[in-house]
């Protein structure tokens, strides 16, 4: 099934930041909320490009617009102004169903609170994005099981979330994010609900996924977590405050988990 993205108008901005080579490119994105009579600017013109196979952390204190930015990147919300290019196609003006399609095929979400369906087992949770893609059941289950094996949870396929530890739940969520082979993996405070040891395991898994060629965006307020990435984008008052590449010395390098 063809996605709607390809039919969206192509506007390629020029300049140092360019939509070329970028998986996602946010071009002067603004987000304004109406609070009674007042307009509240959550984002005042953010321009960010992320290239394929980049590992990026987005940081910012609460109220910085970080969550709004993450919702926009995740196509959960639409900008008030500006363009958003996803694989070179502008998705800023798409409707609910078209956005759902992009979330389904192009974005793998990992949430702080895992957001697994409590009454479904791991396999079904991982299968779910494929259900909405219309993948036949046999193939769906095969791919879901592969994704679970990828995060070393092949033996927990028929456990429900409440039968799993926090780290295991987050790994199920990562398997769910991976199963559609998305363009980006978007993680929102992925270690926020985990102890530091388990959090470290999850970050090791992200490093491994990055090694394997995935594009990863982690939204966090923890410097320690952000330093796992190659690049940190700091958001403050609705603007990009700093966008820096980390040198290997600055990065927290973890040894990838080996099977």
């Amino acid at each position: 099934m063809a996605t709607t993205i390809t039919s969206a108008p192509l506007i390629r901005p020029e300049g140092p930041h360019s939509a070329e080579n970028s998986v996602i490119f946010l071009d002067h994105i603004q987000k304004v909320y109406q609070m009674g009579q007042e307009h509240v600017f959550a984002l005042r013109g953010v321009t960010i490009g992320v290239k394929r196979n980049e590992y990026v952390a987005i940081m910012g204190p609460s109220g910085s617009g970080k969550s709004t930015l993450m919702n926009l990147i995740g196509c959960l919300d639409t900008p008030s102004a500006g363009n958003y290019f996803f694989n070179n196609a502008n998705v800023a003006g798409l409707d609910d169903n078209e956005l759902a399609e992009i979330r389904n095929r192009e974005i793998g979400f990992v949430f702080q609170t895992f957001n697994l369906l409590p009454r479904s087992d791991s396999l079904h949770n991982v299968e779910l994005p494929l259900v909405y893609q219309g993948v036949p059941k046999d193939e769906r289950q095969k791919r879901a099981l592969e994704a679970l094996e990828h995060v070393s949870l092949g033996d927990r396929a028929h456990h429900k979330p409440n039968e799993l530890s926090g780290g295991q739940r987050q790994r199920v969520a990562i398997a769910r994010a991976l199963v559609t082979r998305p363009s980006i993996i978007l993680a929102d405070e992925p270690t926020g609900n985990l102890d530091s040891k388990t959090g470290e395991d999850i970050m090791r898994l992200f490093a491994e996924l990055h090694e394997q060629g995935n594009t990863i965006i982690v939204v966090t307020h923890e410097e320690e977590i952000a330093r796992h990435a190659e690049r940190i984008i700091r958001i403050k008052d609705g603007l990009v405050e700093r966008d820096e590449m980390l040198s290997p010395e600055e990065r927290v390098l973890v040894t990838p988990m080996s099977a």
């Binding site: 919300d77 957001n115 369906l117 259900v131 909405y132 559609t180």
Partner: protein, 415 residues
């Protein structure tokens, strides 16, 4: 289509786990639907029973037989018809010689409110009926015991009779009436047969309280061969019965020398005219019956809607998750519609079983008079199931629509 099936299947799986994890709530929700479907299906079964009873009432008339009588039976203006000329044996004889589209023409005379007696038992409201030989063709009597009167008996004034089931039950509660001699208005008649029970309303049109005897026996017992009689005309073919009716009407008008401007001073009665009235009456009953029982179904539907609204609220976060990972509006809509329909279909299935059992019990233990029977035909079961699914879809729609419209960002934030 495949997507729709997947969405529906997903919805049913979710619904299944939801029902299991909340059995009491599900049961209470279903209870409303169960009551609604039970009342509607039982009412349906009852209405079919009423319809059958009406149809039984007119089954004494053949579908292809016309009855010439002084009165129009289905009319309410009996008083106006009292001064019409009597229908006579002479007229019957003329019809017999003139009509070409009739296969048989018989006459019968009757006398109401006759006392029938056997030993110490008596029935005061029986109807004596005298019939001639062609009545064997035009009449529609089913004999349960014994036999109908023979041609020889019908042609002579033999003192024999066939009695209706009600008279048989009352006069001969513990013995076989066949071969016994009873007295009809003091006149001794030997019972040769008992007619099968007809049921039906009022007892006016049924053979159940009749004593049927040869016409000449009747005149011997009750006198007055000039009384008004009824002439039964059976059409030659069922398909050609309309032309039989026209010929009959024309002949009667000719026999009575009516001028074109004059109306008929006789009635031509048939089952059709009663059926029309019965259909109009049962339609009214159907509408009223289903309106009233429909109210209980409405209450059940509101119950489903209420619980689905609660469910949508409780599962806001789940909806958010589903939307985040790519569920479109339609998928969410179908999911909740499937859940609502499954709840109410389960209620509907239970209700059909209950209603079936109840109709059986009512028929066997409460409707023992035999006037009306209720069964539980398959159409009623199908009606119950189709209705329950429809109620689920209709009452689930608003909650499902709300769910499908939820904003994923807010839904994910919902605690």
């Amino acid at each position: 289509m495949g997507r729709f099936i997947d969405d529906t299947y997903e919805g049913l799986v979710i619904a299944g786990t939801a029902v299991k994890s909340n059995p009491l709530r599900s049961a209470l929700t279903m209870l409303g639907i169960i009551i609604g479907i039970v009342t509607v299906t039982l009412m349906g079964a009852f209405l079919i029973g009423i319809n059958d009873m009406f149809k039984n009432t007119v089954s004494f008339m053949g579908t292809d037989v016309y009855y010439v009588d002084k009165f129009d039976w289905a009319s309410k203006k009996w008083m106006n018809m009292r001064n019409r000329p009597d229908v006579s044996l002479e007229e019957a004889a003329q019809l017999r010689s003139k009509m070409t589209t009739a296969s048989a023409i018989s006459v019968n005379a009757d006398q109401w409110l006759i006392q029938s007696k056997y030993k110490s038992k008596s029935v005061d409201n029986s109807t004596a009926v005298g019939v001639d030989e062609p009545y064997k063709t035009t009449g529609s009597i089913n004999i349960e015991r014994g036999r109908f009167m023979s041609t020889a008996e019908l042609l002579t004034a033999r003192p024999v009779c066939v009695i209706g089931s009600e008279i048989a039950d009352k006069l001969f509660p513990n013995e076989d009436p066949v071969g016994k001699t009873m007295r009809v208005s003091g006149y001794p008649l030997e019972v040769v047969g008992v007619a099968k029970k007809v049921g039906g309303l009022f007892g006016v049109f049924t053979t159940d309280n009749q004593v049927i005897m040869p016409l000449r026996t009747f005149f011997a017992a009750f006198g007055d061969p000039h009384r008004s009689i009824t002439i039964s005309v059976k059409a030659r073919t069922v398909d050609g019965k309309a032309s039989t009716r026209s010929e009959l009407e024309a002949m009667m008008r000719q026999i009575r020398r009516l001028k074109p401007a004059q109306g008929n001073n006789f009635g031509i009665n048939s089952q059709d005219q009663f059926n029309k009235q019965i259909d109009a009456l049962t339609l009214t009953l159907d509408v009223v019956g289903f309106l009233i029982t429909g109210l209980s179904l409405l209450v059940g539907g509101i119950g489903i809607m209420n619980i689905m609204l609660v469910t949508v609220r409780e599962r806001t976060r789940e909806i958010g998750i589903r939307k985040a990972i790519g569920a479109k509006r339609r998928s969410i809509l179908v999911q909740f519609l499937a859940e609502a329909s499954m709840l109410s279909l389960m209620g509907g299935l239970i209700a059909v079983v209950i209603a079936f059992t109840m109709s059986f019990i009512i028929d066997h233990y409460f409707l023992t008079s035999g006037t009306i029977h209720i069964g539980f035909p398959i159409q009623i079961a199908i009606l119950g199931i189709v209705l329950s699914i429809s109620v689920g879809l209709v009452s689930g729609f608003i909650p499902a629509w709300k769910a499908s419209k939820l904003d994923p960002v807010e839904a994910l934030r919902y605690e």
